[in-house]
Symmetry: C2
Subunit: 125 residues, 2 copies
DNA sequence: ATGCTAACTAAAATAGAGTATCACTAATGC
DNA sequence: GCATTAGTGATACTCTATTTTAGTTAGCAT
């Protein structure tokens, strides 16, 4: 039989990091979480596995204004994110909760929206 | 008398670029617009002048998710932006037009919001 | 248990955006 | 017009995020 991918402690730790954090993580945050499960895991491994988890659609990327991208477990319903200005952690806000009346020039077609709140998280107040 | 700053064709061209474009520009877009007024203007000059126009509060920076920052003439009322998925130009949407009911964990305090629409601009449809 | 090789670590290389340097140009005060 | 020096153009450099490389480890079929 032809082996195409292997189950490794490192990839398991990276998946576990996202599942237990329950919020979007940067590659660096992912590294720190995964290090608690697999000592010595390297940042290159984190990047490589984030890449393959994205390809598998187990993760999705979250682009943020003025910040490096975060990643979260895929398949959640449409929702938005909150950034703490003190600790810079990103949190999920379940549900969309946004209504808008775009004031756009003629001929523009809207296909998507992104919404971000910022402020202070409970731990930073 | 001590001269503190000089009026240059280049800085005028950069200001003119923002005024005529009437939408937020990246440094590179600014360069191309300004080149039509001052042949041979350099990207270093664009960065330098964007920097000084920010200090003068003539420009403000706009951070975008997954994109390099754009700059627009300062002092406009609170508004949001639209990104064309085809040409990647950013457009302004006058007025805020957003209502939201954040579904946040206990203890979080909201101090700001950012909102972006995406789709296709009139020229790209 | 062994062999094959995917996946790993550590380090170096790359990429892209922005900044610094320096010789030269040109705006301004006299 | 001339001297002064801020601003410019070209390019080298920095910084940070990410990718690649080379050598090593370990998952899995046999």
């Amino acid at each position: 039989m032809i082996v195409q991918s292997r189950k490794t402690r490192q990839k398991d730790a990276i998946r576990a990091a996202f599942l237990s954090a329950n919020r979007p993580l940067s590659p660096d945050e992912t590294l720190h979480h995964a290090r608690e499960l697999v000592e010595g895991i390297s940042i290159a491994t984190v990047y490589r596995n984030i890449g393959s988890l994205l390809e598998e659609n187990w993760l999705t990327a979250i682009a943020l204004p003025g910040e490096t991208a975060r990643y979260e477990v895929a398949g959640k319903e449409h929702h938005h994110h909150f950034r703490c200005n003190a600790c810079h952690k990103i949190f999920e806000m379940p549900g969309c909760g946004v209504q808008f009346e775009p004031n756009l020039p003629k001929g523009f077609r809207v296909t998507g929206h992104e919404f971000f709140l910022s402020g202070n998280c409970a731990a930073c107040r």
